[in-house]
Structures are given as structure tokens and as C-alpha cells.
């Protein structure tokens, strides 16, 4: 928690945010936005939120940037400039300044930065910190709160990812049967080579081939070791998804779909949610509440109710990782190929 460092980073963040909105080349503004996310991740590490920093580094800066780039690739790169938009922008600037001034006035009512006795830091969160080890044997409080104490929350967040994936899939996929003709004469942008010219670089292929196993091993470690160190299902799942995206980028769509076909993608996304909800339902049948893991010691060998909670958390994290991994991969495939699943970035 280095306050000076925090202040420098936040100032840089402000600069990046302004640049991202002002640069007229969309590609540039996306890259600046990626830098913004990385700086944000440093700020979160400064504020003691190491798990959030990890998530931001993988999700916000990594996969989010990839999604934006693939959209620019399948649409257009330049932001045109028109004078008649300026008046509206100026008017909105005034409106936003008024709102901002009102919000700034309330800032002094908030507790000071780093105040350990503020309401947010005393009531519920202290219970989690003091009881996590005794009740679940999990030192990483973030994981135990995520997967156990607030299990319902995480389950429905996983469902949101699942639904968003299904939405993207349905939105973009629908066009293939409707108007195949319109899809074929998409304008190609100057951003990369035209899609029919396949990029065939030995260096990129070999490098990604060498990197992918280590990325996946690391991702599995992140998922499995989430109880003791920063990490868990969300972060590990995104890294796994990123390794698949790397393969899809360095090879072509045929290779990408040979790893995971469309059918498998949809099945695996649902399987992840099913694992999570299924663990909840098993608890149900063993006589506990939904997602009350402690009753699982009846079927897990050599465990007591406390260790059963720890083990069930791992199962839940695996379900989350599966859903997140496959949905990130599927979203990338849909966005970069404009839903046609034939060729992309």
C-alpha cells in the first residue's frame, strides 16, 4: 500500500482515459485502453486487492482488448470527424461537469482512504477474515467468500457469463442462413491482410506452440492453488481461454475449430454451470441447504465437514473455470469471424 505510487498511477490512468476517448484511430484508442487496464491493475495491487488485480490483468487488459481488436477487424478502423457533433459534445460536457461537481461535493462525507474503522471494513468483512480458517481451512479469504459464503452470488455471475455467451452466439450466428450474400461482401479493412490471404509464419506458429502448454499448466495451477494464493476459477479459466485464443490467432480457424468445435463449445459452457449447480443440488439431497458444502463429508472419503467445504470449493472453481474458459474462446471466435466461423483475425 504505497500511497505515492498509487497517486502517480491514478494520474497516468486519467491521462490514458482521456487519450482513449480522444484518439481518432480506433485501433490506437483500444491499445491505450489496454494500457489503462494494466495501470488499473497496478492500482488494485497497491490497494491490497491482489485477486482483483490478477483478474483485471487477465480479463480487462488481456481478453477485453482482444475482443475490441477483433470487432475493429470485422468492422472499420477510422472514426470520422464531423463538425456538427461538436455542439452536442460541448453541451454534454457542461451537463457532466454539473453532475461531477455535485458528486465531488459528497466526497468529503466518505471515510478517508485506508481508514480501517470505516463502516465497510468493520461489520461483515471482519467476520469473514476472523472465521475463514476455522470454518473452511482456506487461507485466501477472497476464495472462501467467493465460492462458499457468497456461493449464490458467484453461481449467478457464472450464469451471466453463460447467458452473455449464448446471446453473442445467437446474435451473430443468425445471419448465416438468412442472408449469406450480404455476409460475403463484407468490406475488408486496412488493418490486417485480407482474410483469404492466410498468415503463415513459422516463427509465430512455433513460438505459440511452445508457449501454449506452459500457459495451460499455469492456468491449472491458478485454478487448483486458488485456496492458498491469489487466483481461482475466473482467473485460471481466462488464462486457459487465452491459450486457446493464441492458438486460433497463430494458426487459422480450421485448427481452432478442430480443438473445440461449435457443438463442444456449447456443451462445455453448459457443463461448467451444471457442475456448479450440481454440487449445490447434491448438498440438497444430502440433507443440507443448497450450496451448503459441509454435508458433503458424507460422500467424500476421509473428510470432516470443514475439509468438505474446502474440497467442494475446488469443485465449484473447476465449474467456473470451464464456463469462463469456453465462453471467452467462443466469444472470441464469434466476434473475430463476424459469426461466420470460417475465417478471422
Amino acid at each position: 500500500m504505497i500511497l505515492g505510487f498509487d497517486i502517480i498511477c491514478l494520474s497516468l490512468i486519467l491521462l490514458c482515459a482521456v487519450l482513449a476517448l480522444c484518439i481518432r484511430d480506433l485501433m490506437g484508442s483500444v491499445i491505450v485502453f489496454g494500457a489503462y487496464s494494466f495501470l488499473m491493475c497496478v492500482v488494485w495491487a497497491c490497494n491490497g486487492a491482489i485477486d482483483v488485480a490478477f483478474t483485471e490483468a487477465t480479463v480487462g487488459a488481456g481478453v477485453g482488448t482482444v475482443f475490441l481488436v477483433s470487432t475493429i477487424y470485422s468492422t472499420t478502423r477510422m472514426d470520422t470527424f464531423k463538425k456538427n457533433r461538436l455542439l452536442k459534445q460541448l453541451f454534454m460536457f457542461v451537463v457532466v461537469c454539473v453532475v461531477g461537481a455535485l458528486l465531488l461535493k459528497t466526497v468529503t462525507d466518505l471515510p478517508q482512504w485506508g481508514d480501517a474503522n470505516s463502516p465497510a471494513n468493520t461489520h461483515l468483512s471482519s467476520y469473514y477474515i476472523e472465521n475463514s480458517i476455522d470454518q473452511t481451512h482456506v487461507p485466501n479469504v477472497v476464495t472462501s467468500v467467493l465460492a462458499d459464503y457468497r456461493g449464490f452470488d458467484t453461481m449467478f455471475e457464472t450464469c451471466v457469463v453463460f447467458v452473455a455467451f449464448i446471446g453473442i452466439f445467437a446474435l451473430l450466428r443468425i445471419r448465416k442462413s438468412k442472408s449469406k450474400k450480404a455476409a460475403t461482401n463484407q468490406p475488408t479493412t486496412e488493418l490486417t491482410l485480407p482474410p483469404h490471404q492466410e498468415v503463415d509464419s513459422l516463427i509465430i506458429k512455433t513460438a505459440s506452440h511452445l508457449m501454449v502448454p506452459f500457459m495451460q499448466l499455469f492456468a491449472l495451477y491458478v485454478v487448483a492453488h486458488g485456496h492458498y494464493s491469489p487466483g481461482g476459477g475466473f482467473q485460471g479459466g481466462v488464462i486457459l481461454g487465452a491459450s486457446l485464443i493464441l492458438l486460433a490467432v497463430s494458426y487459422n480457424f480450421k485448427k481452432a475449430l478442430s480443438i473445440l468445435s461449435e457443438k463442444k463449445i456449447i456443451l462445455l459452457v453448459s457443463l461448467g454451470v451444471l457442475i456448479y449447480a450440481g454440487i449445490g443440488v447434491i448438498c440438497f439431497f444430502l440433507g443440507g441447504n443448497f450450496l451448503d458444502y459441509s454435508v458433503l463429508h458424507k460422500i467424500l472419503p476421509a473428510t470432516d465437514p470443514i475439509m468438505a467445504r474446502s474440497h467442494a470449493m475446488l469443485g465449484v472453481e473447476i465449474g467456473v473455470a470451464l464456463t469462463v474458459m469456453v465462453s471467452m474462446y467462443g466469444i472470441y471466435l464469434s466476434l473475430s469471424s463476424n459469426g461466420r466461423f470460417d475465417k478471422g483475425l
Binding site: V30, F33, D51, T55, L171
Partner: protein, 129 residues
Amino acid sequence: MEFIINYYNYIIVVIIMMLGLWGMLALSNLVKKLISMAIFQTGIILFYISMGAKKGASIPIIKQAYDEHHHPIHQTINNMDYANPLTQILMLTAIVVGVATLGLGLALTQRVYSEHKSLHEDEILESLS
């Protein structure tokens, strides 16, 4: 000066949120609108994380001591020594859901582009009428 240092995070939160809001309202490019939405979202996340920070506290992973038989030694855990885990988990899931909604927004943008051949709000409105 003291005021600025104590409330710096919150001041930045307001500025970032207003930048995002301005981008969503004033910019006509759809991709830039989505970037503004993501910027607005990070403003809210920064607000929560700043709330949960404690001066002089460690990350929320409990230091556990073990005896020679690898059994955990019971120890009293002080709330002040660890950053607030609750605000962190709320924001952790918010980031992942944020990127999923960003993807959904981008998919909608692509659909709009394939219909109207433009990413600009005013040009799309023109071609609609």
C-alpha cells in the same frame, strides 16, 4: 493538501466516472461508447476497492502458522491486518461479468455495422429514416 491526499482515490473515481459518462453521451462512435462504458465501470470498481483498503494492512490471505506435525496452530486473527475481502470479491466477479457484457455490446455493434455500414450514431439514424 492533506485533503487531496486523503480523498485522492475518490476524486479520481468521480473524474473517471464522469469521463465515461461523457463518452457514452457525447461520442457518436459505437466502439468508443463501449470503451466509455468500460471506463465508467472501472470507476465504480475503483470506488469499492478504495473503500476496502486499510492503511498498513496486508493482502487478504491469512498467514497460518503450523507446528512440527503440520497441524495449524490456532491463532487470533486481527481484522486490521488484512484488507477487506468482501469488496474485493464483489468487484472480482463484476470484472468478469463486465467483459462478458462488453462482448455482448461488441456483438450488437457488429450486427448494426453489417446492417448500416457505419459505426456512427448520426449516420445510422439517417439510414434508418
